[in-house]
């Protein structure tokens, strides 16, 4: 597939430099085609952006956004003085960090391993199996974990039968970070190899042959050809992960929050949900959400700068 930059010569391209009325007439069906998507995005993405003003109000569902009282920065003052909020922030950062360390290397390692397998039948089999859990819902994935590792699950059954005692991973706050990371690994690590496999396939085979002719063994080739070939993708994935540091998966925590307690399992998204919607304190929840969005934008910006410092494109260039 060719890439799509604007500069690509294309004989179906429309001649530029015409009066906009003429161009609109000519392209009216193209513009019309984009309309449904644009309308949906405006209604469900752009209108809520203006809805963020509720964070500066004392929102009253009966009065609506237009007639609620303004509260200035009161909600934020309340937020920053709330130990439960800081609990959610520190949980988010901690879980995000543990997940990054444990999860990130696995898809890369798996992709390298798979790439070294000669038989395409084995490769295809492994790929179609490890991609599968990505398509499971979180409810399903957590149910599976519960059945395998929970108090009444397969693992504890085995332990009890052998008189080793029980070990309920699902409700233990101390091991919660490991639990959620292993859930993410089980569900997403297989899917994560796709980008790396694509990058591996794009490495020029001649390089390996030339290196081998020069006497480089398999580990040297891995170090000097394969890993540099993956560098761009690895940096891109890291940028995305850092930019999303405040998002650790929402449904995953929503479902398990009660089992381990909110001290350990409340993250920013669930905080915003419980205070905003479950208790009806909309403005407070919106303030927490806005705080998260602003920090996330800064993180994306920072992570991208970092990528540029390493000489990579990262997510965007300005």
């Amino acid at each position: 597939m060719t890439t799509t930059t604007a500069a690509r010569p294309d004989r179906t391209a429309r001649p530029a430099r015409q009066n906009w009325r003429v161009r609109l007439r000519r392209d009216r069906s193209l513009v019309l085609m984009t309309l449904p998507a644009v309308v949906l995005l405006v209604v469900f993405n752009y209108v809520p952006l203006f809805g963020l003003v509720t964070a500066f109000q004392e929102y009253d569902p009966l009065a609506g956004v237009w007639h609620s009282t303004w509260a200035g920065l009161d909600q934020f003052q309340r937020l920053f003085g709330d130990p439960l909020f800081w609990n959610a922030v520190s949980n988010t950062l901690y879980l995000s960090f543990v997940q990054l360390i444990l999860f990130f290397p696995i898809p890369i390692a798996l992709a390298l391993l798979l790439n070294s397998v000669l038989s395409s039948r084995v490769r295809n089999l492994v790929q179609s199996v490890v991609y599968l859990p990505h398509f499971f819902s979180w409810v399903l994935a957590i149910t599976i974990f519960q059945q395998m590792l929970g108090g009444a699950g397969a693992l504890n059954h085995l332990l009890r039968n052998n008189d080793i005692g029980t070990w309920d991973v699902m409700t233990n706050p101390d091991t919660f970070a490991l639990l959620v990371s292993s859930q993410v690994i089980w569900k997403e690590a297989g899917w994560g190899i796709i980008v790396f496999l694509a990058a591996l396939a794009a490495i020029n085979t001649d390089l390996y042959e030339a290196a081998a002719a020069d006497g480089a063994g398999r580990w040297r080739r891995l170090w000097h050809i394969t890993l540099p070939g993956l560098r761009g993708v690895i940096v891109l994935m890291l940028v995305l992960r850092l930019g999303n540091a405040l998002t650790v998966g929402f449904e995953q925590f929503l479902i398990q929050r009660d089992a381990v307690g909110f001290d350990t399992a409340d993250v920013l998204d669930t905080f915003s949900f419980y205070y905003g919607i479950a208790t009806g304190d909309y403005s407070y929840g919106a303030a927490a959400g806005l705080f998260k969005s602003v920090i996330s934008l800064l993180l994306i910006w920072g992570a991208n700068k970092l990528a540029h410092a390493f000489g990579e494109d990262g997510l965007y260039r300005t």
């Binding site: 597939m1 799509t4 513009v31 998507a37 949906l40 809520p48 929102y59 000669l118 395998m148 796709i194």
Partner: protein
Amino acid sequence: MTDTLTVVERAIADTSKPVVPRRRRGHRPAWEEPPTVAGETAKGITLGVVLLVVLVPLWIIVITSLSTQGAVNRAGGLVLWPDGLTLEAYRVMLQDTTVRTALLVSLGITAVGTVVSMAVSVMCAYGLSRSRSFAHRFLLILLIVTMFVNGGLIPTFLVVTGLGGYGQWWALILPSAVSVFNILILRSFYSSTSADLIEAARIDGAGDWRILWSIVLPTSRAVTAVMALFYGVSYWNSFFNVMLYLPTDSEKWPLQYVLYTYVNRGNGMPGSVNSGFGTAVSQTAPLSLQMAVVVLTLVPLLIVYPFVQKHFRTGVLTGAIKG
């Protein structure tokens, strides 16, 4: 901002290049060292473990769902090895009105949602794929901005409820009907549809609708299938939106939410003593019944997956970038 766009697109296009097999099957290039026994064994064991970690839980769940009460009792819980099989759990499950309704609701939402999403996305992707068309830069930026900035949970909830979406099925579909990421992938494929073909069709008098329908869509079946799977799975799995917009209407719940209340929370399984919703009462083990509900949420995926997953290998893919 316009450069932003090209980098995001290039990242997508890079990963959507066809994955050309580096070597022919079973052929080790002459320059490569012969494999060591230890190395091959380690590889084999690692891959075997990876496969088992995914497959064993699924196996246990399927077998337990098919087990008789006696087998479950003998095993003292989950059944690892077939020991008295029966379809009783499935019979009881499908007699339960909550599960039956939920199955229909899930299938309906998935079907309608996928059709809506695909129609909207395919049109939008094609509409933006002809270079230098009217306002296409502006529209693209409008789309891409939503990948980085959004109102977040509460404002979106207020907008949807403000439009009367509370308690309505459309609240599970329309707010998440458009995935900008999917549109960008489709667009990058459509942009690379042979310019000759399109030119020829245009000379023959075909308009853009005709070109989209008769040329672009038929030449990009693989990516269309994969996108339909992505959308379909996201509707089939929708859970949080149910909690937001339909938390109390149990007769409107899709399957995932029933799985959550029945199995995850252990509330009122049909057939258990304090059955809250169930209409069927039976002697079947609640555990095999629970596992049958789990299997039921898996089945449609397992039916569709084999037809689509081959396209992941032949290069349509992408998706993981979403992170």
